[in-house]
């Protein structure tokens, strides 16, 4: 029997979890644009503009700054599979779920993966990382900047210098942090950074911007093999080992984004239009101003949560601006609270993974939703739901404390 269903009509939701969050309406409008051909001069011009825009987002001069067509983990895999040759040593400092993901992907690329672990809710100091580098002597250090599973933000500033001094490639997955927390790709000597749109950039999942230093590009170039069917007589393969993936082969993706425009995939134009608008929105506000905005609303949410008599999770010195972890109070049914928030108020807050499953909630203030009204509406709804589900709290204090943060900032 043929079943065709109704036209799409999602319920209205205020997405205050760890992401994805509501897409900025400007991004949706950009994505509703009609297509042009893959090699239309206007399309290739848009591709070049995307490169220029994301250089500013990443704070880099790197020529090779572009999109991988897939979700944020597609960007991670593209970097790792294009660099790692089977047997290469990769060091991964793990302080949450996404460190495990980096290990997993590196392992599948054939790496000898060495991990060091910090307890969830903490980050690493540079000495721990340097000691591990001395011990392991890896080809690459792969690390997450912000892990939404734990809400922690790993400081990166000193790690680049350590990597450079020890001849180690330095890769960072900044999906959860970009746009809401400081990231200085060049100043911090990052060799590769990949991200997604669905956190502080205010876009939908499905496009993975990344940037590559000249140094890492040299290594990838040594593995350039152009696929049969589009290879011309003037193309010469490099001597390095063939990259184990076609789709994620950054050498070929560079050829597609570069002057030769060698066909690889068919660019996901609608996602590119969205990624372009995400960057324009961020840059019109200013990257530093956007980080400050995330800090302001993150601080207000944190104060408000304490006004709800909720205990904070994790090392508050190293918390991301855009997501807050709070312990589910003893005796309060965590999932019933989330369900009431969603069904009665249309507001989504997050649960967690692994060792924190059922122990904390995660509340985000990011991208388009790093706004005063979104914070206050969430706090009042949560106050109501918590009170009805048996949690003791001082009425009205959540908003009072959040408001105090806003008032102090306005002075």
């Amino acid at each position: 029997m043929s079943e065709i269903f109704d036209q799409i009509n999602p319920p209205p939701r205020l997405l205050m979890g760890p992401g994805p969050i509501n897409v900025d309406p400007r991004v949706l409008r950009a994505m509703s644009s009609q297509l042009v051909g893959q090699y239309d001069p206007s399309m290739t011009a848009y591709m070049n503009e995307v490169m220029a825009l994301y250089r500013q987002v990443f704070k880099t001069e790197n020529r090779w700054t572009m999109l991988v067509d897939g979700t944020s983990r597609a960007g991670i895999e593209a970097v790792l599979v294009s660099v790692i040759e089977p047997g290469d040593k990769v060091l991964v400092p793990v302080f949450g779920r996404f460190g495990h993901l980096l290990c997993e992907i590196a392992h599948r690329c054939g790496a000898q993966v060495h991990k060091i672990e910090a307890e969830w809710g903490n980050v690493f100091n540079p000495e721990q990382i340097e000691a591990a580098i001395h011990l392991v002597k890896p080809k690459m250090l792969a690390i997450t900047q912000g892990d939404t599973a734990t809400t922690m933000l790993q400081p990166l500033k000193e790690i680049g210098e350590i990597c450079r001094r020890n001849g180690v490639l330095f890769y960072c997955d900044a999906t959860a942090s970009i746009g809401g927390n400081e990231l200085l790709s060049d100043e911090w000597q990052l060799d590769a950074v990949s991200v997604g749109l669905q956190k502080c950039l205010g876009g939908p999942s499905g496009s993975a911007p990344l940037t590559l230093s000249d140094h890492i590009v040299e290594q990838i170039d040594r593995r350039r093999h152009i696929e049969a069917g589009i290879r011309d007589a003037h193309h010469h393969d490099s001597k390095g080992e063939v990259i184990r993936s076609n789709y994620f082969d950054l050498a070929m993706i560079m050829d597609y984004w570069g002057e030769e425009r060698l066909n690889h995939h068919t660019e996901a134009a609608t996602m590119l239009f969205g990624a372009r608008e995400c960057a324009r929105i961020l840059l019109q506000e200013g990257v530093d101003e956007a980080v400050q905005r995330h800090k302001l609303h993150g601080d207000a949410l944190r104060e408000g949560a304490q006004g709800l008599n909720l205990r904070l999770f994790g090392d508050q010195m190293h918390k991301m601006n855009n997501v807050l972890g709070v312990y589910i109070p003893e005796g309060v049914p965590g999932e019933a609270v989330r369900t009431a928030m969603l069904e009665d108020f249309g507001i989504e807050i997050g649960t967690s993974f692994g060792p924190l499953k059922g122990k904390i909630w995660r509340i985000g203030t990011m991208g388009y939703n790093a706004r005063k009204d979104a914070v206050l509406v969430t706090l009042t709804a949560l106050e109501n739901v918590l009170r009805r589900l048996g949690h003791k709290l001082p009425l009205g204090e959540a908003v009072d404390r959040a408001m105090a943060v806003y008032e102090a900032a306005a002075q």
Copy 2:
């Protein structure tokens, strides 16, 4: 210097090349919907609906019918890397560019690739394929149904039975053909089919629907390894070799689309909304009716092209309905014609690859653009441009011949 560029505003184009083509406005409207959370009941319901819709598109009862988040070659790589273990033999009959792509991807998955080749413009008969299977004894046969590079459509009907009889897995990339040419996944005993949205389905590139038979799912299941960080005590790994990709691991993608909803990537919701609407549009028309529509407009275009005094490329018995190859006439500057079509008339037609580069043009009539007005506008513009650039042709005959096709069909 900060450079933010203008808001997106692509020039109006009628895309009559080999794809991507203009997106159906209904799809753009669906994609402008606001997001809901990744595990929102409405989102998981949409995912289930997408599975049900694409079963009808693929004409299959396969439970595992879902999306891979990436362009059509992401779907190809997901199937191949999830099935192929290093050393496995894969047979690829190559009759155009995309057969080479299948070889390339299979090779990078570690396969021993055996190819047989047909001259561009032709297809294989079942005897040639069975003979190669007997010789090679592959684990899998991987083949393209329609190759836009040559405009050819490979008949598949008898190959499934041959594969089944010889214990060979049967995979087909039907990106260019689906929706415009008959495809009966179950009746033809296909084990896996993957496609994209950007041809006859009238969507943008960036989502890869695929379907997997129970038989191939069994093989993939033997390689299921759940990633650290989301693994629970009740999860057990299978004994088979770990799949070489995390992003394309179909065992994990099934776990994400299945009842357990184990986190893998964050679904590219906007692309999913688009993929859902593409399927709804096709099914509201009827798959068979859509194939007939592509045949009608393809026939009209072919007659019209002959009225332009253009010679047809390739075996016309095995041409796809949705794309036509015509030789660039002697003495006519091929690229100047394409440029005039684009710049003066806003119409894109295609060039070709490899051995056909500079020799043929490719003109598509697919998806939203498989329409009478699109065909007639293209023919009149092409008549004008060809005449101005020195090609001799009988004025008015192109539209007369196309019209005759429409009139015959209306009777």
